[in-house]
């Protein structure tokens, strides 16, 4: 283990010298966690995530992470992660696909309990029939859990977003979990150039006493404190308390916009801002779209790209503004249900402009030609 010094997060993310390496997405997870000053990580295997948490195990063995173990299933792991977070440590885990579904009951309680957990989701299809292949359908289910959702296009995003995630999650006025999503196999198992940070630097540690709720360590007040008590009597007072609590979680997500804008440089990236047609998408569909756009622009079609980096909070106003001056929006997706297209339609003034596709799923790659065909069709 290399001796690491604590540095300012802005220095680490924006100014520190970077060196380029050719690594997989799973290795990018290891490199991010190595510099994230993580106290504890809890693992459970599921393809295509397993390798990420193996590698986190390796850096635990080297001393970069202080505590690590394999839990018994994803529901239990997400519960153990919650317990660790309530005790006031910085904690990390990862899952994907069926693992996400197995753990599901826990996710809304992370947000409800104001836990700044960071979880990587290596997305994968959901049974039945059994599949281990990439598919982003699990994101549709997670949209309303209160978890902030960042979607990585590639290993570089995955690496940077993980480090940013801890900083955003732990802000007192946010203090809710952040999920960093990467498309399984396409990102986790392929090699890519990643500009890495100095190995001798790490993020500042987490101060649990700035939490918006008491830490469960019997070292702070009040001592008569349950996380989180039932508010379930059958009267308006109970309903109002529960409603106000849920609204506060929504408010926390809204407050994250300021920090995410700072770290991500905006919730979206736009290429060719003056375009007539936009491809609006997230994850690896962005890379496929970029290829299609290059060909279309050679053909003289003024098509641009909107890469959505944050799904929760959703960049509704940003997309609405772009949509209002474009003649068509194409939303390529790696899932059957088209959850991103639905999200976009819900925030723009003219949903009929939206082409809800192309979509591939079940593990298929997205041939840029499918996207190109839609661009040509709209352009006519």
């Amino acid at each position: 283990m290399i001796d690491q010094k604590i540095v300012d997060p802005d220095y680490l993310l924006f100014e520190a010298p970077r060196t380029s390496e050719y690594i997989t997405g799973s290795e990018a997870v290891r490199e991010a966690i190595k510099r994230a000053n993580v106290d504890m990580a809890i693992a459970y295997p599921i393809t295509p995530q397993s390798e990420s948490m193996h590698l986190v195990g390796d850096i635990y063995a080297q001393g970069y992470v202080k505590e690590y173990f394999r839990g018994e299933n994803e529901f239990a792991v997400m519960s153990s992660v919650a317990g660790a977070s309530m005790a006031g440590v910085r904690v990390f885990t990862a899952t994907g696909g069926p693992g996400t579904m197995r753990a599901f009951e826990v996710f809304p309680t992370w947000a409800g309990a104001r836990l700044p957990i960071v979880c990587a989701f290596m997305t994968r299809g959901i049974n039945s029939p059994l599949t281990i292949q990439p598919d982003t359908i699990e994101m549709a289910y997670l949209l309303e859990t209160g978890i902030l959702m960042l979607h990585a296009e590639n290993s570089q995003d995955l690496h940077d977003m993980l480090l940013m995630a801890f900083m955003v999650a732990e802000k007192t006025d946010v203090h809710i979990p952040v999920g960093v999503f990467a498309d399984g196999f396409f990102v986790t198992h392929t090699r890519d150039k990643v500009n890495m940070l100095p190995e001798d630097c790490k993020l500042p540690s987490y101060d649990p006493y700035t939490s918006p709720v008491p830490v469960m360590d019997m070292e702070n007040v009040p001592v008569r404190q349950m996380r989180d008590p039932f508010v379930m009597k059958s009267n308006f007072i109970s309903y109002a308390a529960h409603a106000s609590w849920q609204q506060e979680i929504d408010a926390a997500a809204e407050r994250s916009r300021k920090y995410l804008n700072h770290y991500l440089g905006g919730l979206i990236d736009v290429e060719h801002e003056d375009a007539d047609i936009f491809i609006v998408t997230s994850g690896t569909a962005v890379s496929q779209s970029r290829e299609a756009i290059a060909t279309a622009r050679e053909e003289g079609i003024n098509v641009g790209l909107v890469k959505i980096k944050s799904i929760r909070p959703f960049p509704g106003e940003e997309i609405r503004a772009l949509a209002s001056r474009s003649k068509g929006i194409i939303v390529p997706e790696f899932n059957r249900v088209g959850w991103l297209a639905k999200e976009i339609c819900s925030v723009i003034d003219e949903p009929r402009k939206v082409v809800r596709g192309p979509r591939v799923f079940g593990g298929m790659t997205m041939p840029p030609e499918l996207i190109l065909a839609e661009i040509r069709r709209i352009n006519q």
């Binding site: 007040v221 009040p222 408010a251 106003e317």
Partner: protein, 194 residues
């Protein structure tokens, strides 16, 4: 945000008011404060808070666990400053000792609870209240319920990032803000008497 004209004002706003943050109200940057949904400089907010407190019929302070208990260095000094501020204002103190749904019920004459702060405000006919030492999550919970069901004017002296649910909120506030508030109260009261 489209709805940035939203104002955080005394209620009763209604059955279930929205969270101010989801209506486009943003927390103040360091050095700033927030007043009725808009960012203002710290001194403007302090002066406005002092004025609200001295003009109130029945101003009440709601100290939470973080100031009620002398649990870490620095708290005792803040507690003393708060007490002196209350004396200068002529405000009563009603504590929020914890956040539990209390069984069988609270006594609204002597305590306030984040799950139903409106009961204490109604019972004591409080027209201006000041939150301090309450964990941020519970403060927002309570401030919103107060806005929904009462006409009480809310002031939050927050040691963290502030509260957009309060009508006036300071951020990163500590001993120095409490002392400044007391000075302003004394100054404004003096001014009135002249």
């Amino acid at each position: 945000m489209r709805e940035s004209s939203y104002k955080v004002l005394p209620g009763p706003e209604g059955y279930l008011p929205p969270a101010a943050a989801t209506m486009g109200v943003m927390l103040p940057d360091p050095g700033q404060a927030i007043m009725e949904g808009e960012s203002v400089d710290r001194d403007t907010a302090l002066r406005a808070a002092a004025l609200k407190l001295i003009e109130a019929r029945n101003p009440v302070f709601f100290p939470g666990p973080l100031i009620l208990w002398d649990w870490k260095p620095g708290v005792a000094e803040k507690a003393t400053a708060l007490k002196e501020l209350a004396e200068a204002v002529g405000a009563k103190m009603i504590p929020m000792p914890d956040y539990r749904p209390k069984y069988p019920m609270i006594n609204p004459a002597i305590e306030v609870n984040p799950n139903h702060p409106n009961l204490t405000i109604w019972h004591n006919k409080i027209d201006v209240c000041l939150f301090i030492g309450v964990h941020c999550h519970y403060a927002n919970l309570a401030l919103k319920i107060i806005r929904g069901g009462t006409d009480c004017y809310t002031i939050a002296v927050c040691a963290e990032a502030g509260h957009e649910e309060a009508m006036i909120s300071l951020r990163d506030a500590g001993l120095c803000e409490l002392q400044r508030l007391r000075e302003l109260v004394i100054e404004l009261k003096g001014g009135k008497n002249q």
